[in-house]
């Protein structure tokens, strides 16, 4: 019973903390991620562009970098091929 109360109290505090984070900092975190993502996308495009039919670097270097890029390839392709819209910039 006491534990349940403690959980409820903790849950409420957690909710308040998340709400304040949402108001003050969530936007900042999203934009920081967006900035990092655009830099990484550019880097992957330069090194792995031939995956999308844009050969830029000689395959030797691409192969050397491949192990570092592998974890990001699926999300990179998803973002590169996603339909873009101007209103995306609003939020």
């Amino acid at each position: 019973m006491g534990e349940e109360k403690g959980k409820k109290g903790g849950g409420f505090l957690k909710a308040v903390k998340e709400f304040v984070y949402g108001i003050a900092a969530h936007d900042s975190a999203r934009f920081a991620l967006k900035t990092r993502a655009s830099m990484e996308h550019l880097f992957i495009l330069i090194t792995m562009g031939d995956m999308l039919g844009v050969p830029i670097l000689p395959p030797y270097y691409s192969l050397r970098l491949l192990p570092y890029v592998v974890p990001q390839i699926s999300t990179w392709k998803r973002r590169m091929l996603k339909e873009k819209d101007l209103t995306d910039a609003l939020a």
Binding site: V20, G22, A32, T35, L86
Partner: protein
């Protein structure tokens, strides 16, 4: 009537509206499914599509939609009396506002996280997308003009605000440096920068702008208009972590602490309304219908919310069941914010003449005086309270303005770079947006600018509702609950825009206004007419889409038979 009664009435509408109406629509009509994978999960990229807790999204959505709109609309609408404004805030939110906010997020989620442009393309027609984007550009320009005017009138009317504005900007820049360069602890950064901003508010109250730069400069509209748009210029062209984000971060604490303690002040003082419940059907800016319905914009319904719900929130919801508390629930909270603003202004002045005198100078002064009164209930001196209210007002307006200018920069580049590569330069797009904004601020009368902004905002809402209705019809779901608000909002906002644009251009043609006012009236009037034409074309495209979906349903029914 006592203000606490109004607050309780608002809470009752929010509670029963949510439990009895919104929840029913969510469960029975939309049939939200907690097991269905949302775009945040399906297309997770760790950036835009990312499953996020609903508590975080609640704060994010509230912060994104609670700008100057829900506060200033009710303050201006008091000119018709507080009762019509209150009724519209309550009924507008109950039957239209939450419907749009929630359903925009839901449709975007069911359509793989598409934003409003993409949704109009998929559900209405390819042409609808292009027209919608042009519409949004001019709608945002009107936001820049209307909110710019609020910043200028506040900086002139409340001489403590420029110093507080300057300190808060410096505190924000320091926050950016501490977080991203010095890697300082976030709690320490927050405490240092918020305290610095609070010191600035106090300094503003003892060092008003007229004592520092002289009365001529302190009262110069040009100076504050340029200052506001230079601020937005930096926000649009500098790296977002360097300027816009950290300033918004510090401002968020100042604004929401002010609102929170202001609300406590209302409960402590619980004053009664001193202004009349109803003044007259027609006032200087127009009749109750349709003008009041666009004057109280975001507190009842706002097209801006549909953009935030679809482009931002829908891509982060981890569960379909979260769309209602985040989309719909936050709209009910925004309704309470509008009621708070109505109470602030409606209980502040002893007589209608005092209010008329104050509102003639701009709504920012009314809000700041109200904040000073209610923060006074918890012990803050009036001068400091007024300085606090003024900087709240400036940042409620300018945080949206900087986003708008940034968007207009991107839109200029996207739409015009085929004509000339010079438009790809970010400074060109930002300069054009800033110049247009300054022009509107310097030439337009703020009440007309506000109405046109409200009209464009509500028209955007009706277009979002039209897209929602098209989706409901395409899915074979009941659509009356969305179609009726669409029709009401469309007719009302088109009437408001036509009425105001006609008045503006009529004054020019009859020679009643001259010089810069004539230029301002002409441009604003023409923008108003353009928005109406764009909306009519979109409505025509929407009607064709409705016909297509109806025919599809009939064909399906006959095939089953």
């Amino acid at each position: 009537m006592n203000s606490v009664v109004v607050l309780v009435l608002g809470l009752l509408v929010a509670y029963f509206g949510y439990r009895l109406y919104a929840l029913r629509i969510d469960r029975r009509v939309i049939q939200s499914d907690p097991k269905r994978a949302t775009p945040a999960k399906m297309y997770m990229d760790g950036v835009e599509f990312m499953p996020t807790s609903r508590n975080i999204l609640f704060g994010y959505q509230f912060k994104s939609i609670a700008g100057a709109g829900p506060i200033l609309g009710p303050i201006i609408a008091l000119q018709w009396g507080w009762l019509p404004a209150l009724v519209w805030i309550l009924l507008g939110t109950l039957f239209i506002g939450w419907v749009q906010d929630y359903a925009s997020a839901m449709v975007a989620m069911r359509k793989e996280g598409a934003s409003m442009g993409g949704l109009s393309h998929k559900l209405i027609s390819p042409r609808a997308r292009l027209i919608l984007l042009a519409f949004i550009y001019f709608y945002l320009l009107l936001i820049a003009g209307a909110f710019g005017n609020v910043v200028v009138s506040t900086a002139i009317g409340l001489k403590g605000s420029p110093m507080a504005w300057l300190f808060l900007t410096a505190a924000g820049l320091l926050a950016g440096q501490m977080i991203y360069r010095w890697r300082t602890d976030i709690i320490l950064t927050t405490v240092v920068t918020v305290v610095l901003a609070l010191i600035g508010i106090w300094v503003g109250s003892v060092a008003p702008s007229d004592k520092i730069i002289g009365p001529d400069l302190a009262n110069s509209r040009w100076l504050w208009a340029i200052a506001a748009f230079v601020f937005c210029y930096f926000a649009a062209v500098l790296p977002i972590w360097r300027f816009a984000l950290p300033i918004n971060y510090v401002a968020a604490y100042i604004v929401f602490l002010g609102l929170f303690f202001g609300l406590i002040g209302v409960v402590i003082l619980h004053p009664s309304f001193t202004l009349p419940a109803y003044s007259s059907f027609t006032i200087k800016i127009g009749p109750i219908w349709p003008i009041m319905f666009v004057t109280v914009a975001c507190g009842a319904i706002s097209g801006w919310h549909s953009l935030v719900s679809s482009s931002g929130t829908a891509r982060q919801l981890e569960n379909e069941r979260d769309a209602l508390p985040v989309g719909g629930g936050v709209m009910f909270v925004e309704m309470m914010l509008a009621i708070f603003a109505l109470i602030i202004a409606g209980t502040l002045y002893a007589a209608p003449s005092e209010y008329a005198e104050a509102i003639a100078k701009g709504p920012g002064g009314v809000f700041a005086a109200g904040v000073a009164k209610f923060l006074g209930a918890i012990g803050l001196p009036t001068d400091v309270g007024r300085s606090y209210g003024s900087v709240m007002m400036i940042f409620l307006a300018i945080t949206i303005m900087q986003l708008v200018v940034r968007f207009m920069r991107i839109a200029t580049s996207e739409l015009l770079s085929d004509i000339s590569p010079v438009f790809r330069n970010p400074h060109v797009g930002t300069f054009i947006a800033s110049l247009l904004g300054i022009f509107l601020v310097m030439t337009g009368w703020w009440q007309y600018l506000w109405i046109l902004f409200g009209g464009a905002n509500q028209l955007m809402a009706s277009l979002a509702l039209m897209i929602i209705t098209a989706w409901l019809m395409s899915e074979g779901k009941p659509a009356t609950w969305s179609l009726l608000p669409t029709i009401f909002m469309f007719v009302t906002t088109v009437a408001a825009l036509l009425y105001t644009s006609y008045n503006l251009l009529d004054k020019v043609l009859k020679g009643a206004v001259k010089g810069e006012a004539a230029a301002g009236n002409t441009v604003i009037g023409v923008i108003g007419f353009f928005l109406v034409v764009a909306a009519l074309v979109l409505a025509y495209e929407g009607l064709k889409a409705f016909g297509r979906y109806r025919a599809l349903r009939v064909a399906e029914a006959s095939a089953r038979a």
